[in-house]
Amino acid sequence: MDWKQYEHTSTEDLLTYISWKDQDAYKEDAKAAYTSLFFRFKEDIGKKARIVAINWGYDKDVGDVIAEQAFERFWSRPYTFEAEKCKTSDLDKCVLFYIYRIAQRLLADYKKTADKPSPYTGEEEVQVDYPDLENMDYPKEKLKDIRKAYEVLAGALARLTEKHKVVYLTYHAYEKKGLKLPRPLLKALREELELTQNTIRVYKKEAKEEIKTYLKLYGNK
């Protein structure tokens, strides 16, 4: 079936067709619909995955693999995306945030996939906070302020060792207020970085202190 048949179909309808992927009669339609969804978001996801991967110190190919795997995860379990939880009429953005979150998790725990299959692939559900887009009230910064913020953060992170940086960013990628990181992730971090949990805690604290000091010195100029 030619996916172009679904090229202009609304994202909402595409998601419905995709959810029928396990019904034999609709399998091909689901594939074509997912292909259409893929081409709709490929550029955005691909670009962001490359940017984030490079900022973590990896190359652009890591970004492409992360993006590809994130699309695969969505395709393998499309039912875990619940449009009714979006709290927004902009379904496209809600889908994007959902895939970003998957990609973020893949990047944060990708290290162990180099040697063995990720324990995250398959069974568990990706927990996603659906952003409340309609109630967002936020200041619109100028590009120069955003660029300055980037420079400050890049400068601060550049002062950390690679291990400190990975520990720091991984914690930020996962940690929600008051919650600990998932156990398998902590284990993976320990194994990958050859550090004990105590050392990781110390690294996290040291990185935080370093960033704090840096922000005090350079963030207020």
């Binding site: 550029e43 492409d64 795997q69 994007l96 887009l133 960033i211 963030g219």
Partner: protein, 118 residues
């Protein structure tokens, strides 16, 4: 002039990491900043190696990641590691165990000598 004092602090740093490309954006504000910082350039064509056939068949590329430290680095770091990592004393080499026992014995002797002096 805008100052960063109002922009980044330790409370909103995750939000700023997600706005500036260190993490993926998680809400509309972060997305808007992200897109402003990394705009789509006119006529920009990027050849992403992301393939729908691999995705649909579940055969996506896996990450063949270059280790963060190469083996030589790891070896050079390892020699500085404490021998008693993870508290597994049974993994300590015999010469280290002997040294520890010797030190312990010395400490005990010193302590008992002091006691006797008193």
């Amino acid at each position: 002039m805008a100052t960063n004092k109002e922009i980044i602090n330790m409370e909103n740093i995750t939000e700023w990491l997600s706005s500036t490309g260190f993490l993926f954006p998680s809400n509309e504000m972060e997305l808007e900043r992200f897109n402003k910082l990394y705009p789509d350039l006119e006529n920009e064509v990027i050849d992403y190696n992301i393939d729908i056939e691999r995705i649909l068949s579940g055969n996506t590329r896996s990450l063949t990641i270059k280790p963060m430290f190469d083996n030589d680095d790891i070896a050079s770091i390892r020699q500085y590691k404490m021998v008693a990592r993870f508290g597994k004393s049974d993994q300590l080499p015999p010469n280290i165990m002997d040294k520890i026992k010797k030190n312990e014995a010395k400490k005990n002797n010193d302590a008992s000598d002091k006691k006797e002096e008193n």
